[in-house]
Symmetry: C2
């Protein structure tokens, strides 16, 4: 493809808008890292891959995995890729949503050991970074409450650095239902909050845990805190007021991962 004004190019560019993503049931995956993880871990979701000639030569694993999975791969001019997205860096994919639901997490064989729930998190970079942290910590999934940022916002997808395709990331979750289901599956529910009564180092993290993290600006609401068995505070040893959401979630999830591994 060489014409940046072609209908298909405009259709991909339009996926920057949430309303278009929802109507079409498609979203964009941008840049070599995210596309590589998509075709490797979730090729069944990938509809088309678009690469520049230079990117196809530089990232043969992408074209290999796409070809093995039978994904349509299109070589494009750099102009076409830039017209599709200014953040493509020579590689872009169009994918369809993973349809996994929260209930699937609790009904499949082994009960989950570690889950992260985001309550009303709005900033795409924060949400993506927490998804990446959950993946790195070995979590079984991430739940996004209704009212959270769209998991398919291009900036969320980029910030996950591919982790969106490594574990279930489930949107539109009712946190009251999810915390009840987690408890039925033998998990404790911990809410992270700077005003928590329990210090992180005093929490019993050697048990399967669903962590609830709140909005980056306002933290957790009273209703959300009440869903938890304990509200946990990360100790602040210096004069900082707090950690930001992504840092706090990373510390909590890694603390759980360490305790679960050791147990």
């Amino acid at each position: 493809m060489a014409n940046p004004r072609a209908d298909r190019v405009r259709a991909v560019a339009a996926l920057a808008r949430a309303s278009v993503r929802t109507r079409r049931g498609q979203f964009r995956v941008e840049g070599p890292q995210a596309v590589r993880e998509a075709v490797r871990f979730a090729p069944e979701l990938v509809r088309d891959v678009y690469l520049s000639v230079a990117a196809a030569q530089r990232y043969p694993e992408i074209t290999d995995d796409a070809s093995t999975a039978g994904v349509h791969t299109h070589l494009c001019s750099p102009d076409v890729l830039t017209a599709m997205s200014p953040d493509a860096q020579g590689v872009l994919a169009v994918a369809r949503p993973d349809e996994a639901a929260a209930a699937d997490l609790f009904s499949s064989g082994r009960p989950p050991q570690l889950l992260a729930a985001l309550a009303q998190v709005r900033d795409p970079g924060n949400a993506g970074t927490v998804i990446r942290a959950a993946d790195a910590a070995g979590a079984d999934g991430v739940l996004l409450s209704a009212g959270s940022v769209d998991r398919h916002n291009p900036k969320v997808v980029r910030s996950t650095a591919g982790s969106l395709f490594h574990l279930p990331v489930i949107p539109g979750v009712d946190l009251a239902e999810a915390t009840a289901a987690a408890r039925s599956a033998g998990m404790q529910v911990l809410a992270a909050d700077g005003a928590g009564q329990t210090g992180l180092d005093d929490a019993d993290l050697a048990r399967p845990t669903l962590w609830v993290f709140g909005n980056e600006a306002h933290g957790l609401g009273a209703a959300e805190r009440e869903l938890a068995d304990a509200v946990v505070r990360i100790p602040i040893h210096g004069h900082a007021e707090s950690l930001n959401l992504a840092m706090a979630a990373t510390v909590c999830l890694y603390s759980s991962a360490r305790a679960l591994q050791a147990s």
Copy 2:
């Protein structure tokens, strides 16, 4: 002040440029959180505070602390503040650099327990977030190698959320000298790297530690790794390739803080 074209307004706006900051020995502190921490924790560095009338009413603690410390406080029109910086949010200060040197960390009374060194870190948001994490973890200071981003870059200052004024942040550090000084002060030197030989959970963190963190894109160079007693890897339990620099530093510094508190 009401005239956005006044010389003083232009002089503050010009501090966006590193060359101007260096020549004048001044830098900008933007937004209520950073200015509040500056006038509270380091009023001797603050030369002028500029506020809108609305901000002066909303943040009386800033005008109180500035007045107690004898800092010049100027009420300005919103236009003036926006002309000084688009990120002022109604409050801005001009400060002079803290002149502390790395040697001061090791010569003052109690030897340091926890330090973070950034090697060639270029991204302002990453550097600022690591400074914030170091503060929250109770570190005694942050060392920036020669070639790292300017600690007074407005985006670094903002990302520290005030932590820049809570602990010494020392620029232009020779890491070979600093690691030698740290060892003489009884500290171990640990480098964080995804390819490290020692897992974080296996490292002995109950000892005074200088952590060395590398560039966000390229990690640590061989010379920097050789300065360390051990190269430490954060375990990745899922499929993520890595954590980003700010997340990795937060996990390492908090792991040290926990072990040092428990010891």
